[in-house]
Symmetry: C2
Subunit: 420 residues, 2 copies
């Protein structure tokens, strides 16, 4: 990597050769001077999504009114199938757009426990995303189960040794993130799923930081369950609905705990007893949010057009280039890589240590580069494969080295307030 | 009522005198010949909502990107306060826009059970909306509680006698609908809440068919908990987020079961243990849907401008006029009122029995009048107080009497397929 040139001309050459460069024009770009490296928190707005939502509001809601439910009712499954086909390696009928990541995790973990009465232990890792850890802790507290927490290195990501030590015949489910939200470390889905299955437990993957950026092969890896959000790399907008995956062979063995009318067989018979529909729709709960689901469809189609393998290739190129420049320019100013260096072990974002990371992140925003801060001392930079240019990475790191060199962040408050 | 004139001129006079008539122009009206009497399934599109959503998408998501979370994060509570102030009689800090009705019910019922360890019985009625009954049944099954089902007359609505018989020192929670989804029967919130409190239990109201149509006085009635949807009378669009209410004095005693990161104190510290924020936001779960929440705000503001008391007054006038015409014109063709006749006992929709209700409902749609069918033999007609004219009611019932007289529904399939 250190053999790469560090001049801007090289970045321009990379942009000129980028087969995905034209996709930049498919997104809103309100401010040419802004560099957005936070698509892994909230993805940018696809122009087609704005147009399609306006059409759904005007024609389907405004004119079609309640009649549009004939068409809307199938969307959560149809859009789930799109995600399965283009992004997560799942055959049709296994992915459903539904609720939030948090609520989907709650449903699937309870269902997994109910299906395995003799197994009462849940495993996750201590660097998993907060909502994952909290939901598991809540379920364990409510059901009197054990939540067994394995330790993960904040920079290097998951190691199989602590997992192997925690597995045993009492374990019902292992729940891990495919790409770690802080370090960007990418787990080996197939290997870990195999280890978990060897112990007779079920495997659940959180795909929030991988779906849309990294090819995910749910069916091929043998994964049992997965959840993921759509407002990061799927670019579906703030609070767009999440998705869930349940392996086909497992669906009829599982019953989720929130017995809502959208999971009911013969929904409009409105009969006395809950009788869940066969297949993936039994994991639905209440009335699905239609506008958000349409946004998921548009975002997914755009990624499908770019192609997940090409997106991954560009994601690797962007992040390895970012690491190269950070090594050259930022290491002398106290920055240190807090993500895996090996391309195959990293998702699409890069995290840097810095003792003043909070103030640096704020000064960087003031300099027109949006990344984000993560506790305790990390600056997270997430190039968006479908829109970010190599020159954006160059310019962002250039601005960062300038403010680091001038210590022009030192006048800022040292303590973070609420951010996202 | 039978003293009302049945000619169309009288309906025109009522429209001319309607203080809310001007609000009709604030909604999309794509087809002048269509009469929409299904706002209690999906409310019509406010023009301001279409414009506001376009603005949020373009300016807040497209241009503001992740920075807009500074503003979005407070919306679920701020819009909840709007609902509380204008529609549901709740002082600030007690209503939260969140998830779906189904998921909100699941959260609050579990929280109510956890807070009362000695009480293990849930009560609802056998004509409550399906998702309410199913969610309660699921919770009872999972926790080994008893779900005690009281009988309700499908036409007359809830009677207090079966409720009194079912109450006892083992009861944790009574969960009922304020307005029944099938008959439109309106329960006496204050009286029933009092009876439930006398037995030492908590009271939860489902406001789906009352909020926005009937003044709701949560604080004044002493209600403990409530849930409601926003895509009916609040006109917030298909699958817009629901809301929940938790009485202020009860909030810190309750802990909901889905421990999501949006309910966490100091959310971005991302600490090891779940520690719910004080107040109503502890009932949040995952990332809230922003576009839907904005639509709830717009819909609520429009109702607030019209005034809930004037909306109620018009709702009563529309439904009593509808009943008058049905008595005059439809009774001879085998229709019979399946809603309370007394204005004070009825919400904003009217249901009619007819042995061929399914086919009649389909023929009526073909004749340009959208109402809906409800099992087993009911035609449900829901005038929307903020948009429906008295002449719409006249024209709808006129079309209905014509197709009933000619039996022009008899060629249609006798069996319903999936509808909404």
């Amino acid at each position: 990597m250190t053999a790469l040139p560090s001049n801007r001309i090289y970045a321009e050459q990379l942009d000129a050769a980028d087969p995905l460069a034209r996709f930049r024009d498919r997104f809103a770009r309100p401010d040419e001077s802004l560099i957005y490296l936070d698509g892994n928190s909230l993805g940018p707005l696809p122009l087609a999504t704005a147009a399609r939502i306006a059409e759904v509001i005007g024609s389907e809601w405004g004119a079609g009114l309640v009649r549009s439910w004939h068409h809307w009712a199938g969307l959560p499954r149809e859009v789930g199938d799109l995600i399965g086909e283009h992004l997560t390696g799942a055959a049709p009928g296994q992915v459903l757009v539904s609720d939030s990541t948090t609520v989907n995790l709650f449903k699937l973990v309870n269902a997994a426990l109910d299906a395995q009465p003799g197994r009462t232990v849940l495993i996750t890792d201590d660097d998993n995303f907060p909502t994952d850890r909290y939901v598991l802790a809540g379920i364990a507290a409510q059901r009197g189960c054990e939540l067994r927490m394995i330790h993960t290195d904040l920079d290097a990501g998951l190691d199989t040794q602590p997992l192997l030590a925690a597995l045993g015949p009492d374990v019902a489910l292992v729940s891990l993130s495919h790409v770690a939200y802080r370090s960007g470390a990418l787990a080996d889905m197939e290997q870990i799923t195999g280890l978990v299955h060897d112990a007779g437990a079920l495997m659940l993957w959180d795909l929030c930081h991988s779906a849309g950026a990294v090819p995910v092969r749910l069916d091929a890896s043998g994964a049992d369950l997965a959840i993921g959000c759509t407002y990061k790399y799927l670019n579906a907008g703030p609070g767009a609905p999440a998705f869930l995956y349940v392996r086909a062979g497992l669906q009829d063995r599982l019953r989720q705990p929130i017995w809502g009318w959208f999971g009911q067989q013969d929904q409009f018979a409105m009969g006395p007893a809950y009788d869940p529909v066969p297949g993936i729709e039994r994991f639905a709960t209440g009335t699905p949010q239609i506008i958000g689901t349409v946004a998921v469809a548009e975002g997914t189609k755009l990624l499908a057009e770019a192609g997940i393998d090409r997106l991954r290739e560009k994601g690797v190129a962007l992040t390895s280039y970012l690491i190269h420049l950070a090594d050259e320019w930022l290491a002398p100013h106290g920055f240190r890589l807090a993500s895996p260096r090996a391309d195959a072990r990293r998702g699409s974002h890069v995290t840097l240590h810095h003792p003043d990371a909070w103030r640096v992140s704020q000064a960087l925003i003031a300099a027109g580069v949006i990344g984000d801060f993560r506790t305790p001392d990390r600056l997270r930079l997430g190039p968006v494969p479908i829109t970010t240019r190599f020159t954006d990475v160059w310019d962002a790191l250039d601005r960062l080295r300038q403010l680091a060199a001038g210590k022009s962040y030192e006048h800022l408050p040292a303590t973070p307030s609420r951010i996202t």
